[in-house]
């Protein structure tokens, strides 16, 4: 439930990054539009330069050229002596002064009209007196100077048009440059934010997940993750927690199954298979380090008769009680198993058969003294026969076989007794009465 609440608090990574991408697109789209706008201004300015300004400049150049031509024709009128030549020049002056290219520029038109009138008067007077023009030459010089100035003014007007257009284009280019720098800065900032977000919300949680997965084990506590906002990450973290819980559960099941596989269901002691495995290992260890080790076989005396007399439930109770006595009487390190029926096998590490006999005797004594209360109110006592054998220099099977032979001897010696392998071989041939179990 808490995981569900956490998920509700988080947000989807795909949506978050889609939102981020959308914001990116909007911002950069706007930046591109702004840049395109400036670019359009430059294009407009250059187009205007090409389509309008250049023709205008050419127009001013032609106007300047015509004004200059006007001045040259005036000079010619003063320079030549031929009336015909003066007439020709005057004719050109008339045409230039009346030409639309001059008339559309008022200052130039005014000056051209003055020039035409002045030169016309000169030509008219020259018909009467060829020397008259010279008298007006100074005046002409002033007029020619004004024409020259007008030529300069007109030329500059053309240049000014270019300057104006170029200024517009330059301004637009500068603005575009600043905007481009701002866009690049913004791009860098956005990239930084993107990297930080990816690192914080994706890479770091993924690294934590990687560590958690590497250390995921039943011996480790459930992985803990720092709070994260991404729903997908939360889902993976939750899955890892669930996986850990499953591992624990599986381990518990495995442990139970192992217990079931290794223990005897009635007595809770090791079963024969598990005992043989563990005893084999223990025996090898003892033999490798030349340590003493002893094995034993025990059998409850007259158990079959007890079963027949009191029933199997009583037999089972006797077996369980004997198992409890074994746990109480023996050391923690001793191994014991229900070998089959009422037969039990033992392994006593670190002690030789002599010391093991003392332990076995303690068990035999406790067993013989213990009164077992049956559910029907009656009680029984049971005795045990035990055979011991040294296992420090032979395989487990051989040692157990010897212990079993000793047990056989113990039975023949009258039960409720302990026999060390090799001590009472003669007992196998004749039975002994003193160790007969007593049944009540």
């Amino acid at each position: 439930m808490s995981a569900v609440i956490k998920r509700q608090r988080g947000f989807s990574a795909s949506r978050a990054f889609a939102l981020l991408a959308a914001v990116f697109l909007v911002i950069f789209g706007a930046a591109v539009v702004l840049l395109a706008h400036d670019q359009q201004r430059v294009i407009d300015a250059t187009s205007r330069l090409q389509e309008q300004t250049v023709p205008e400049i050419i127009r001013f150049q032609r106007l300047a050229r015509n004004l200059e031509q006007l001045r040259q024709e005036g000079e010619r009128i003063f320079a030549v002596n031929s009336h015909a030549s003066r007439q020709q020049s005057m004719f050109v002056v008339t045409l230039i002064a009346s030409h639309p290219s001059i008339l559309e520029h008022p200052p130039a038109a005014q000056l051209a009209r003055e020039t035409e009138q002045f030169l016309s008067e000169i030509v008219r007077q020259s018909v009467r007196d060829d020397r008259r023009p010279a008298a007006y030459y100074d005046e002409w010089q002033r007029l020619a100077a004004r024409l020259g100035t007008q030529v300069d003014d007109v030329s500059i007007q053309g240049v000014d048009l270019v300057t104006s257009d170029l200024n517009v284009a330059t301004e637009a280019m500068k603005l575009a440059r600043y905007k481009l720098m701002a866009v690049l800065l913004l791009f860098g900032l956005f990239l930084l934010v993107f990297v930080v977000l990816v690192r914080s919300y994706l890479i770091k949680p993924l690294q934590a997940i990687d560590r958690a997965l590497s250390n995921l084990s039943v011996v480790q506590p459930a992985p803990e993750f720092p709070p994260t906002a991404m729903r997908e990450i939360q889902a993976v973290e939750e899955a890892i927690r669930e996986q850990h819980a499953l591992l624990i559960q599986n381990e518990q099941v495995r442990h139970v199954l192992e217990q079931l596989a290794n223990k005897d269901g009635l007595t809770g002691l090791m079963n024969r298979r598990h005992f043989m495995q563990v005893a084999e290992v223990e025996l090898q260890r003892a033999q490798r380090y030349r340590r003493p080790v002893t094995v034993a076989m025990a059998d409850l005396d007259y158990f079959k008769k007890l079963n027949d007399t009191y029933g199997h439930a009583a037999g089972d109770l006797v077996l369980k009680t004997f198992a409890d006595l074994v746990r109480e009487a023996l050391r923690q390190s001793d191994l014991v198993c229900r070998y089959g029926g009422e037969e039990f096998a033992f392994l006593f590490p670190e002690i030789d058969p002599g010391d093991a006999a003392k332990l076995a005797e303690r068990l035999r004594l406790r067993c013989s003294e213990t009164e077992i209360a049956l559910p029907d109110g009656r009680s029984v006592k049971v005795t045990v026969s035990i055979g011991l054998a040294d296992a420090s220099e032979c395989p487990i099977e051989i040692a157990l076989k010897r212990a079993d032979e000793a047990l056989y001897d113990a039975k023949h010696l009258g039960r409720n007794t302990i026999v060390l392998a090799g001590e009472h071989t003669e007992a196998r041939t004749e039975s002994a009465e003193p160790y007969t179990a007593r049944l009540f």
């Binding site: 294009i43 250049v54 023709p55 032609r62 015509n66 004719f91 045409l95 230039i96 009346s98 030409h99």
Partner: protein, 250 residues
């Protein structure tokens, strides 16, 4: 940074410029052009018999710009409009003023020069004065104007013939376009007449002069206009202007 920006802008602008560039839709085509051969300095034959003049050379320059082959054919002022209107030629390589009547027959290119008309007459003789014979070129705007005014006209077929009736005394005045008047001034006999040029401040006798285009070739208009803009920008136009005329006429 400015270089990168400039490079970016060039990348964007250059293809546009190239797309709008020199390649012409009439590239490789043959265009039939009608011109006059007796209207110096606009259109005439040089000493070797080759057609030349301001209008002819402008047309040649336009054809080069359009990468078209131009075939010149000679006509008269009175016949040029109808010939082009009927599709006998693609271009009227004759300076035509754009009048309503002509607009119905031809497509006009962008004006390539501006003109005005002169009244050439002895000092004191005014336009419309009774008893005057006014020399004009047949089919010209000046002829139409003189007729509309009810003047007695003496028509000649070419601009080159315009001086002869004045010198011979068969006409006392003339209405002529300025450039033709310039040519008349070159003749000693004409100058001896001591005619006084008076600029006629009449709207229909002054203004823009353009080439005519056959209505069957409307696509030529844009091509010719673009080519005209280019030769005005690249100096070709001014060189032709200087070669044939004493001042700038556009």
């Amino acid at each position: 940074m400015p270089r990168r920006l400039l490079f970016l802008l060039l990348c964007l602008v250059l293809p546009v410029g190239m797309a709008a560039g020199v390649e012409s839709s009439v590239s490789g085509q043959t265009l039939r052009v009608l011109v006059l051969d007796d209207a110096p300095p606009l259109s005439y034959r040089d000493r070797s018999g080759q057609l030349t003049g301001f209008n002819v050379e402008i047309v040649r320059a336009l054809c080069r710009e359009m990468q078209a082959r131009c075939l010149f054919d000679v006509t008269t002022q009175g016949a040029v409009v109808d010939a082009v209107a009927q599709g006998k030629a693609d271009i009227a390589g004759v300076g035509l003023q754009e009048t309503p009547e002509r607009q119905g027959k031809l497509i006009f290119a962008k004006p390539h020069y501006r003109s005005l008309s002169l009244w050439l007459a002895p000092r004191g003789v005014q336009p419309g004065q009774p008893g005057l014979k006014v020399a004009v070129v047949g089919g010209s705007e000046q002829e139409y104007y003189a007729r509309r005014q009810g003047w007695a006209t003496l028509d000649v077929s070419t601009y080159g013939e315009l001086g002869e009736p004045l010198i011979a005394g068969r006409a006392q005045a003339a209405v002529v376009p300025m450039i033709s008047a310039l040519n008349l001034q070159k003749s000693e006999a004409f100058r001896q007449l001591d005619l006084v040029p008076v600029v006629m401040r009449i709207p229909e006798l002054a203004g823009d002069i353009a080439f005519g285009i056959s209505p069957r070739r409307p696509e030529l208009k844009e091509e010719i206009n673009a080519a005209l803009d280019r030769i005005k920008r690249n100096g070709t136009y001014d060189r032709i202007n200087s070669r044939f005329l004493p001042f700038r006429v556009s």
